[in-house]
Amino acid sequence: MIWVGWRQQRIETLIAAAMLLVLAAVAIPIGIHMASVYSHEGLAACARNYTPAACGIPVGSFLIRFTGLNLLFTWSTLLPALAALLLAAPFVLDLDNGTYRLYWTQSITRRRWIVTKLTLSVAASVAVAASLIALATWSRAPLDHLNGRMSTNSYDTEGIVPVAYALFVLGVAVAIGALWRRTVPALLVAFAVYVVGRVFMDSWLRQRLLSPVKTTWLAASGSGPNLNQALVINQFISDKNGHQLAGSAGPCIRTSSGLLTHTSVCGQPLARGAHVYMTALYQPASRFWELQGIEFGIVAGVGMLLVLAAAWWTYKRIA
């Protein structure tokens, strides 16, 4: 059965591998070049100890120079999802075409057929996502040293969450496919569900997975927390107790690319004199793995539950 299952998803696996290869062919040379620029210009010192005077210009120009790689990986977060969609197709196709009637009437049980096919899809999807993680983590390393890994373009392609999203897409696709038994519509709906889920997670749920750290400091003192590598949820002008001042600038969220420092946030607090305070709500960079773990648990858990639901439905309901 393993040969049959592999033969059925061979094309899909090869397409996914080809997508990875294209990405690698672009990212690896840029990564090598970027690493050499990074060490040549001594930017590691700025990553350890950022001082605007010494690091502002070289770091800024470095980030602008390699912004393309950032963009590449921002989009490559779709790759594991697309691969998982493709890898869900062989399972749904068999239900769609009625070929499952052929397999289930050979000398194997339908349980074995279901387990083999879904295991192969899961394994290939995880492998694709893991390859992306390795590629992104390696080639983005200098950017991550400077920017941290909390912004979406690195958070979504590194750590472990890409694997979770691959499992999620696969689960949605096979579950809808088992119910609907029409391949193309099932995959399209699964992709839409994935996009909605990702936007929801990236923009709303992720920052709420752990209750954020809240810090208030005297704006003029320059002694605020280091937010360079943190996931900043909100930052505003406040009184001493951290209550937002009426009429002050609204939410002032750090952009995901460039570096910002507390002395220049929103460009205005310094002008207001000595008694202006700043308050920031954020997830510090040290919580990267904790957040990744929680998000992985939720997303991969839902994905695997859906895979199991598809397996159960196929086992019990389909004839």
Partner: protein, 300 residues
């Protein structure tokens, strides 16, 4: 092999929602027979065959295939049964060679020699993709997969419905060849009666989810007569024989009867009837009273 019948259904029923696809079906298919399962579309033929191979579960009653319950003991049934589903589904991306490998991988009793010989006889290349074959060739490849398992029972669901007459003839010849070579038991469903007489010796007529007639074709042909006579009431005949269908013109009455012994009444002219006419007569009537089970088929 053992003495159990190839297939035995007891009060078997399958329901989809409130609709009975098959109801109260009791029949026995003896080992070594070639049975035609005949009925219009939606009669329950596919349901019966899918129950036999464990693709679906009975809503009521029981089915035993080669002595085992196909749902409870799939591995006692599946390796011994060859099944070709309606529209003979095959993985279209596979080549013929890969399709044979599929059969070898998934069947412990696979016989490569049978498969190779049949593919050669069909004149197919191992490298050809299944998706590029004609409907008739695909049906033949599906039959090859089923036969190379060396099954004791071959179940074919509407195998020739989508084929042109030539392909239909070739397919049935392939089945017949397997029957003469191995003595395999065959059940094949069809809504076309023509061609079946050539290879089948048992008949099951299904309509609206119920069996209308079960028995050896020879006895069915011998037991049915067409009576024509002056226009009268059929009641007198119906007391002795079972009237399957009656039709009247202004001066003449025609009865198709399942004769209970000889028809002695001199006012009736008796004729033999062919199988197609008998089938049509049974399908024309659907009242529960028409249900009969030929005792010979059950007792054998």
């Amino acid at each position: 092999m053992n003495d159990s019948p190839a297939l035995e259904a007891t009060a078997l029923g399958k329901r989809y929602g409130s609709n009975w696809a098959l109801r109260d079906c009791t029949l026995t298919i003896p080992a070594g027979s070639v049975t035609a399962l005949v009925g219009p579309n939606g009669a329950g033929k596919t349901t019966l065959l899918q129950l036999a191979v464990g693709l679906i579960e009975p809503a009521s009653g029981a089915i035993s295939v080669l002595g085992h319950d196909p749902r409870a003991e799939p591995l006692a049934v599946l390796p011994r049964v060859g099944f070709v589903a309606q529209d003979h589904p095959l993985p279209r991306r596979f080549t013929i060679g890969e399709t044979l490998r599929l059969g070898r991988e998934l069947n412990s009793s696979w016989d490569d020699a049978i498969a190779e010989r049949r593919v050669d006889e069909l004149g197919l290349s191992r490298r050809q993709r299944v998706g590029t074959l004609s409907g008739g060739q695909q049906a033949q490849v599906a039959l090859t997969l089923a036969l190379a398992k060396r099954p004791e029972l071959l179940l074919l669901d509407e195998p020739v419905a989508s084929l042109d007459p030539l392909a239909r003839r070739e397919f049935l010849t392939g089945v017949l060849q397997a029957v003469t070579e191995t003595g395999i038991t065959v059940v094949l469903s069809s809504h076309i009666v023509a061609d079946l007489e050539r290879i089948c010796d048992q008949l099951i007529i299904l309509a609206k989810g119920r069996t209308q007639l079960v028995g050896p074709i020879e006895e069915i042909l011998g037991g049915h007569r067409l009576l024509t006579g002056p226009r009268t009431d059929a009641a007198a005949v119906a007391r002795v024989h079972q009237v399957i269908r009656e039709s009247h013109t202004e001066r003449q009455t025609t009865l198709l009867v399942r004769a209970n012994g000889h028809v002695y009444d001199a006012c009736w002219e008796t004729h033999e009837v062919d199988l197609e006419e008998i089938v049509l007569a049974y399908l024309g009537m659907t009242s529960a009273a028409a249900r009969v089970v030929a005792p010979a088929a059950v007792a054998r």
